[in-house]
Amino acid sequence: MTSEPSIPKSLAKAPTGISGFDDVTFGGLPVGRPSLICGSAGCGKTLFAATFLVNGAIQYGEPGVFMSFEERAEDLAANVASLGYDLDGLVADGKLAIDHVRVERSEIEETGEYDLEGLFIRLGYAVDTIGAKRVVLDTIETLFSGLTDASILRAELRRLFGWLKDRGLTTVITGERGDGALTRQGLEEYVSDCVILLDNRVEDQVTTRRLRVVKYRGSAHGTNEYPFLIDEDGISVLPVTSADLDYDVSNDVVATGIEGLDAMLGSGGFFRGSSVLISGVAGTGKTTVSSYIVDATCARGERVMSFVFEESGAQICRNASSVGLDLKHHVESGLLRFEAARPTLYGLETHLARMHRDIEQFRPSLVVIDPISALHGPATELQSTILRMVDMLKGRGITAVFTSLRTDGGFDERGDLGLSSLMDAWIKLLGVEANGERTRTLYVIKARGMSHSNQVREFQMSAAGVKLVEAYVGPAGVLTGTARVVQEAQEQAEFLRRGQESERRKRDVIRRRQAIELQIAELRASLEVAEEEEAILLSEDEIRETLLATERRAITQRRSAAE
């Protein structure tokens, strides 16, 4: 992105090689023009200027002249050696020239008219000697304290800047910040193409370095204040205002390494590139859960970066070994890197900038921030910082695990800004106190884009590892820990008792049935007797009847014979 389309030719830019700065200015400083870098003492002007020259000489093949009005060449070389710059080597290679201009008022007597042609000749000579394309004047305002005639100086500086422009030299001029103006001597009046303001602000006893492009004639530029860092890796500016939500999403699922937890999540883990919040008060096992996720990720051969604010990396490794995780060998194999810092060491912006840089370098696939609630600051700043942090991680497709001491998903102890709404998944760890003991329980509050269990699990940690146990859910409510065990024992006893009772009843029934069957047998026996008797009686009757009939016939015969 350069200037508006109506302007046919965009302004040529000289890259500074300072990561982030070239993004903010869409390419760097204007080629062939002077740029003013101003700021108060100790805000990094000289280092910025030195970085501009060193990167120009090494990366872009543009030799440079460093004209120092404050530091001697050897002091300068020693100072920037801490950033890994070898000025002496560059000078020896003819890629850099350093000229220390010393103007000591006590040694100087002004005896009449003069100009600064000596300075022009020195600069011109140095530029011609190495074929320089870049020039740094650090800090030219020192001349005003060495020479008394300000009107001559102003005229000469104006001429100098014009001369630099005519020679097409990309120049960085540093200036100390003055009262109510950008520089003490109003250099911004002369250098009107590009003005960069560096700032080193202290808030709550924490300093944050910030950079702002005040003016950039003929070019679009980021207008915000950007935090920047100076450390052993040089200067890095962090453009952190990308508010787009257009990152790629992944359907790839990464397992957490805790079997029970994976089972609670419909897809068997979290989506790659999602942000996961693990919240819970002290001692509920947040770090342990995150250690599991770290271990699982490293075991897949992916890199993990862990920013820890309350413990050292070694301590986390040791603690993880108590649940059977060996994080140490991941550290040794280079897959896991801890970045431990006290939260109060830097301001929020600096923390963010550091993370940004470390992540750029290490390119992890998982980032752990433990705990996010340790970061302090004004609530709005905190929210924007974390928002940008989440943005930055999502934009790179990095899975992020945040732990938080706040159980309700807020940022810190006071604010009510929702951290949880920024998160794609939220695991809540709760300590349940009952019957004189505490047990840990785990809920999955949300997991965007996947079904998940709504039930509570009891979360057990032991040397054998972490285990999720289904909690007892009965008429008396959810029971965990010993209460669950007691309840289970009670149920077992009850079950046994019920079994015995039914056995007894069964036996009863059998007995009664046997008794009845006995009775039936007896009755059947007497029935048989009765039947026999009946048969006998019947046959006797028949015989009698036959006899009677026979007798009657005999009598009849006898009577008829007698007639």
């Binding site: 201009v101 007597e109 002004e110 005896t111 003069y114 100009d115 042609e117 000596g118 000749i121």
Partner: protein, 111 residues
Amino acid sequence: MNADDHPDPNVDGPRYVLRLFVVGMTPRSRRAIENLRRICDGPLAGCVDLETVDIHQQPHLAELYQVVAAPTLLRLEPLPHRRLIGDLSDEARVLRGLGLAPVSGRVNDDR
């Protein structure tokens, strides 16, 4: 330009080693040279080593001798170094700058 013509008169006094840096033969450079010659022929007669350098011709000397303004007159000896900038038209300041001011009366007489 050497003002080494009169080695005798001030043998006891300190020896002055001066170097004048100018840029080209501009009117200002000429003025400075003339003003300096007057002083060398006057108060400093016989005890001065003067060399005039056109840093336009020898730019590397500008860095070596920390020249910023032009013209610049450098007193290399006696130590400590003194640096006078400008066209040397203010003679009182020039003499003070060279460490010659305490010599009573003569400064005013010469003017």
